[in-house]
């Protein structure tokens, strides 16, 4: 950064940036805790009721969905580091905050062990040719290991990111930037391979006779998509209620919106590819999976809803430039996307576990989902209580802020 630009970062500006954050919000915390309790209650009620598999499938859907949101959100920070991108820097800490859910997710994954008989039918009918892979001990060990590795990488990135903001020493700054440059691709590789493994084990194996090579990529691309959508919502909350308004300009909203459009198209392309290949091949071992989800009741309405809410509507809306800079439409759209991808995960998981006649989508699922969502938001909130919401000492962030200041002064005195 040139000397002229550096002068724009006055101590007053630094203080303002440091002061940004959620502030004391006991109301939010109470709301989160209540939602978590409600969700837990709904889950326990379902678990001890007539259809425990319904509660467990809701648990699994939420687990894979929110792991996706969380790890995908953190991936945005890693991508910023790997590409030396500048526009997204004000959002970096928010993205990292989303990743704080991952340690909790490790525990929740472990808790899945108690529901294994309701979810993994290959325990009752083990396919002999896959027995060495699909057995309970190996599955939970490898998925647990992968989650722990992923979480470790994520926490390492977050640690390096906040380290400088707290210490204020120049050599710490340089060391942490270098560390993040190494950790980001490591996290990226763990993200791709790790989420692929989770997808293969927790979603694809539910129907052990079906397989798709693209399934892992479909899961982690879709997860990045949901991470971006969650970031849009979080950014809107940040601008509205967490003091980020002065530090975020239209260029950030535009960039995030464009990324969202791009990943809408990529995820949609992967969705379409699955259908295309299996439609042409017409092989029963593949088509039974698709037909069960698109042609058989009670899953019939899900397909069109998913297509429209995840791909068709976001694509059309995000083509319009102005929409990307309007907070309310973008938040609504992101919520639609998140709900749509949730339903897509349901469409993948539920037909393998649920045998009832009616669609298993009711109060129970809503409350469990709200509970999970509240856990994620609580993690974000508690993190942002302790640590700055902006990456204060990130050199590129400071460059962006300096340029904003320069622009503001130029606009004031043309």
């Amino acid at each position: 950064m040139t000397a002229d630009l550096f002068q724009m970062i006055t101590p007053e500006l630094m203080e303002k940036m440091r002061a940004a954050g959620p502030g004391k919000r006991p109301g939010w915390i109470v709301a989160c805790v209540l939602l978590i309790l409600a969700g837990a209650a709904a889950f326990l009620f379902g678990m001890f009721g007539n259809h425990p598999e319904r509660a467990w499938q809701a648990y699994l859907i939420n687990l894979v969905f929110w792991i996706g949101v969380s790890s995908g959100g953190l991936m945005f920070s890693a991508v910023l580091t790997m590409t030396d991108a500048r526009w997204g820097r004000p959002l970096k800490r928010l993205a990292e905050a989303l990743g704080i859910f991952l340690p909790v997710a490790c525990l929740l994954l472990g808790a899945l062990y108690w529901g294994r008989y309701h979810l993994f039918h290959w325990i009752h009918n083990p396919p002999p040719e896959k027995a060495s892979w699909l057995n309970v001990d190996f599955l939970f060990m490898r998925d647990g290991a992968v989650m722990i590795l992923l979480t470790a990488a994520a926490l390492a990135i977050v640690h390096q990111s906040i380290r400088t903001d707290l210490s204020g020493k120049a050599d710490v700054e340089i060391a942490s930037v270098r560390a993040q440059k190494i950790l980001a691709p490591v996290y990226g590789i763990l993200y791709a391979f790790g989420l692929t493994l989770l997808a293969f084990d927790l979603i694809m194996s539910l129907d052990p006779h079906w397989y798709s090579t693209l399934f892992g990529a479909f899961y982690f691309m879709g997860s990045f998509y949901t991470g971006l959508a969650a970031l849009v919502v979080l950014l809107a909350v940040g601008v509205r209620s967490m003091g980020m308004a002065t530090f975020v300009r239209p260029v950030q909203h535009l960039g995030l919106g464009r990324l969202l459009l791009g990943f809408c198209m990529i995820t949609g392309d992967f969705f379409f590819t699955h259908i295309l290949i299996m439609w042409y091949g017409n092989l029963p071992e593949e088509t039974h999976y698709i037909l069960a989800r698109l042609r058989e009741s009670p899953w019939l309405p899900l397909g069109p809803v998913v297509l429209v809410s995840c791909y068709a509507v976001p694509f059309g809306v995000l083509l319009v430039r102005r929409v990307k800079m309007m907070a309310v439409p973008m938040v609504l759209l992101s919520i639609v996307i998140l709900a749509g991808i949730w339903l897509e995960r349901m469409m993948l998981i539920a037909p393998a576990t649920w045998n009832g006649e009616a669609l298993p989508l009711g109060i129970q699922e809503v409350m469990i989902t709200a509970g999970f969502g509240a856990v994620v938001f609580l993690c974000v909130l508690l993190f942002l209580y302790r640590y700055p919401i902006l990456p204060l000492k990130d050199p590129m962030f400071l460059e962006v802020m300096a340029e904003f200041e320069e622009q503001t002064r130029a606009d004031a005195h043309p």
Binding site: T83, R86, W87, P127, E129, K130, W133, P185, I189, A192, F193, T196, F200, Y211, S212, T213, L214, F215, G216, A217, R258, M265, D269, F270, T273, H274, L276, I277, M278, Y280, G281, L283, E285, E399
Partner: protein
């Protein structure tokens, strides 16, 4: 923010690019002669094949597709990273893309043109190739648009047209620059092709929007074209081909080999034209880092395919992978794995991605690896399908195929050579958008 290339003035930038558009040198004529000879030999081989039949190319039961398809996919693949650099990186506002863009787009156009010949070459009765087109005829016959091969025709011709038009649209302002500096007949020729471009604010505005829209359209086109090419294989049920990951796997592989080709073309170009100030090591470093990324995607794809082949429990699927790894094509298989997913990791080391020689050498390895990847995919699966009675081997490559391969590489090189000599290989107008405006250069003024 620091520029990845030297902060030249506008006129310095123009001079650096335009001084190479002078009269052709002896070296130029030598290279033109050599590549022209290669083209003629390739044409002779093709003529021989038309007269003799496809047997002269080693094509027979059960492997109906030989090196022609390998080369087709190879060249289409190379074309893709040109569009990646000029269109996708433009949308992502990556500044290091700027000096590479024009040459990369040219590479795309020439590679697609070369690739487009191969579907014709691999036809037995090439004189009725027009039957693939949808035109009303007396027998009321139409192409089957459900076939991925027909989709290929549409996709490749669309890609050729669009990439040519995108390239030409970007060239317009630069052709005007050349016109204004040229005299006599050259001025009239360049003036004709510059179409009267004058650089008014209205022209820049509409052109800029148009270029952005073309870039936004070219991006999904890139992904769809190589996905369609991959679906030539994936929409079958042949073991080793019928796999959902083929579309992104091929697209990533295309970009992988294309970026390697960018290095293989632009490193010599920089040396020949003394463009060190513009085609800096930093830019090549960025290309190398992107290659690491695509290489990791290739590694991911290989690992996933291997795992799911086992997981599927399908004995034909398991067997094709064992046969690829340990059978008669084992050497090519391991070259593929090593050169495509392991060699690019060498670019993790800073010293290897900031010096021209290791950059070039590793790029060549990747190019070879990617050619062998198509070799392994295309030749092994039809040779080893479901029914052991139908198993066989490919009889080639024969001398006819080697000749046509030589011809295709010569054609590509020939076109690029003429491009580099007679057209500005670096986009001056786009470069100027990044350089400090006249009167604003730090230090010395104009």
């Amino acid at each position: 923010m620091e520029l990845p290339f030297k902060q030249l003035t506008y006129s310095q930038a123009d001079d650096a690019v335009l001084r190479n558009l002078g009269s052709p040198t002896r070296l130029f004529w030598l290279l033109a002669l050599l590549s022209g000879g290669g083209i003629l030999f390739g044409a002779f081989c093709w003529g021989y094949q038309i007269a003799t039949g496809l047997g002269s190319a080693g094509v027979n039961h059960p492997v109906m597709w030989g090196t022609y398809l390998i080369n087709f996919v190879f060249w289409v693949g190379i074309a893709h990273s040109g569009t990646l650099i000029s269109a996708i990186l433009f949308l992502l506002k990556a500044r290091w893309r700027n000096p590479l863009a024009r040459a990369a787009e040219a590479m795309t156009v020439f590679a697609v043109a070369t690739a487009g010949l191969f579907p014709l070459i691999h036809l037995g009765r090439v004189w009725i190739a027009y039957w693939i087109l949808p035109y009303p005829n007396q027998r009321d016959l139409w192409p089957n648009f459900q076939s991925p091969l027909v989709d290929d025709v549409v996709a490749i011709s669309t890609y050729l047209t669009v990439s040519f038009l995108f390239w030409y649209t970007g060239l317009l302002p630069d052709l005007a620059t050349v016109r204004d500096r040229a005299t006599g007949l050259r001025r009239r020729i360049y003036g004709f092709f510059a179409m009267g471009w004058t650089g008014t604010h209205a022209q820049w505005n509409h052109h800029g929007w148009g270029y952005l829209l073309l870039a936004a359209l070219a991006t999904p086109l890139v992904i769809s074209v190589h996905s369609v090419v991959s679906w030539d294989f994936a929409l079958s049920i042949v073991p080793g081909w019928h796999s959902t990951i083929f579309a992104p796997y091929f697209v990533a592989g295309a970009i992988h080999s294309g970026l390697a080709m960018v290095l293989m073309l632009l490193i010599p170009l920089r040396l020949a034209f003394r463009l060190e100030d513009i085609l800096t090591n930093r830019i090549f470093e960025r290309v190398a880092q992107t290659i690491v990324f695509t290489g990791l995607i290739m590694g991911y794809s290989y690992a996933t395919e291997l795992f799911v082949a086992w997981y599927s429990g399908n004995i034909a699927e398991r067997d094709i992978f064992l046969w690829r790894a340990g059978g008669p094509y084992a050497l090519q298989f391991w070259i593929m794995i090593g050169f495509n997913s392991v060699a690019p990791l060498l670019y993790f080391f800073r010293s290897l991605r900031t010096r021209l020689v290791p950059l070039f050498v590793i790029a060549v390895l990747i190019q070879i690896g990617m050619w062998f990847e198509r070799f392994v995919i295309i030749l092994s699966s039809p040779a080893h399908e479901f029914d052991p009675y139908s198993w066989g081997r490919y009889f080639g490559p024969t001398w006819v195929e080697y000749g046509i391969m030589l011809g295709s590489m010569s054609l590509f090189f020939f076109l690029f050579l003429f491009f580099a000599k007679f057209l500005p290989s670096i986009s001056m107008s786009e470069l100027k958008e990044e350089l400090p405006a006249p009167g604003r250069a730090e230090g010395n003024g104009q």
